[in-house]
């Protein structure tokens, strides 16, 4: 890695001030994307500003029918949280299926959303659950937050402080993971609110996580999971990749969607 200075601020204000005053600055949370990228020289920074000791970015809290999770909360903490497992078990399952136990001990919710990798898991949940992304400056609806591959609405020095999820009647996440990296080849998050569903796709879309509207429309008309078989998804913008051809991904999308929806109907486990 190229040399850099490391800073560990204790408050949000201090972190932002450091960022604004430093040459070539970058925030680091878990470092599970920043450090591999810097080691591979895909990314460079002269000043790394560590967000992990800022108290305002921590904590899990249920309030007014929503679930708020601090940006610095690790995947492992979310997977094991009694509150998350009780109120939004699909999110705990999703977090427990990210990468491997060592990466889960470091990687954070905020880092994952800020990075917006098209194969990352959390963006699918954020979009399906109408999450509000709370930052140092404002609150951004998930639908406006993800703006393209590895792109978000975050501006310079803006820090995600928490993510506020709505609570559906039931939700489920199904994922076909890459056998080596663990990232999603196809991930589908299904959230049922009464008799309507919000279904999202990650891992295959050329634009990052997207809503699966064609499926949602069919479900609102009363379709069963198997009823999704006949839905035309040829319009979906799917990544071209020799290891996982489009036809294969389309097949997986239907399979994952059917399984996820079934889990939001049955009273079996999520």
């Amino acid at each position: 890695m190229n040399p850099f200075h490391y800073h560990r601020p204790k408050t949000l204000a201090e972190a932002q001030m450091l960022f604004r005053d430093a040459e070539s600055p970058r925030f680091i949370a878990g470092g599970m994307t920043v450090l591999p990228s810097m080691k591979a020289r895909l990314l460079d920074a002269e000043n790394l500003i560590d967000l992990s000791k800022i108290e305002a970015l921590q904590g899990i809290e249920a309030r007014s029918g929503r679930l708020r999770i601090g940006a610095s909360t690790t995947h492992a903490t979310i997977a094991n949280s009694a509150v998350v497992r009780q109120m939004l078990p699909a999110l705990a399952t999703l977090a427990g299926g990210i990468a491997d136990r060592h990466v889960r001990n470091r990687g954070t919710l905020g880092g994952s959303l800020a990075n917006n990798d098209p194969a990352a898991d959390y963006p699918a949940a954020a979009l399906a659950l109408d999450a509000q992304i709370v930052t140092s400056e404002r609150t951004i609806a998930a639908a406006d937050f993800f703006t393209g591959l590895f792109e978000t609405a975050l501006t310079e020095a803006e820090i995600i402080t928490a993510v506020d999820f709505s609570l559906p009647d039931r939700a489920a996440y199904t994922k076909h993971r890459h056998p080596a990296s663990g990232y999603a080849i196809v991930g589908v998050f299904a959230a049922r609110f009464g008799q309507h569903w919000q279904l999202t796709l990650t891992g295959s879309s050329a634009y990052g996580a997207i809503r699966l509207m064609a499926f949602e429309k069919q479900l609102v008309k009363g379709a069963t999971p198997d009823g999704l078989d006949g839905v035309d998804i040829d319009d979906l913008p799917i990544l071209e990749d020799p290891s996982f051809p489009i036809a294969y991904r389309r097949h997986l999308i239907k399979l994952m969607a059917k399984q996820a929806v079934a889990m939001t109907i049955d009273d079996v486990s999520i």
């Binding site: 136990r101 060592h102 470091r106």
Partner: protein, 165 residues
């Protein structure tokens, strides 16, 4: 350069490190603890796994500075003198290593898997928990067997699953 204090295998030590120093490089080059290995450049192999404040991490993907004030456990710290840790003994007796390059990471991971599952373990759970550790030699069956064997030696109940051997 910044000065940091770390407690490595129970001993407090002070180091002067530049910001970009990875924990694995501090352990190997400054602390002289070369049991922690580097097996890849992509944060995928787990040869470098140690515990920081009681949680397993890939020491190739964490800055020494991020561990400031922390408690580090490496492979050098687990045996009691000449007496092997039960996980080390089980790895040896179950032929769970060949070249041994991946073994320090597997042993630290195995200890953590056993300690975080006091209610009991089965082969499927062990396999799931080993996703972040790659072995190019043994094919994993003996590693899983060794971990289950060690769990029993450490008083953790082992449940049978329909596991092929």
């Amino acid at each position: 350069m910044s000065r940091i204090d770390l407690t490595i295998n129970g001993q407090s030590k002070r180091f002067d490190v530049p910001g970009e120093t990875l924990l694995v490089d501090l352990l190997r080059d400054q602390a002289g603890l070369t049991g922690t290995h580097i097996g890849c450049d992509t944060s995928q192999c787990g040869a470098c796994v140690v515990r920081v404040d009681g949680a397993t991490v890939k020491s190739c993907t964490i800055l020494a500075m991020q561990c400031a004030g922390g408690r580090i456990e490496t492979i050098e710290g687990i045996a009691k003198g000449k007496e092997l840790h039960p996980v080390q003994a089980a790895f040896s007796e179950n032929h769970a290593l060949q070249c041994g390059y991946c073994t320090p990471g597997f042993v630290i991971t195995a200890i953590d898997i056993i300690e975080t599952n006091p209610q009991g373990l089965d082969a499927q759970t062990v396999r799931e928990e080993l996703h972040g550790n790659i072995c190019r030699c043994t094919g994993y069956n003996n590693i899983v067997a060794a971990i289950l064997d060690a769990a029993q030696r450490m008083g953790v109940p082992v449940q049978a699953t329909g596991e092929r051997s």
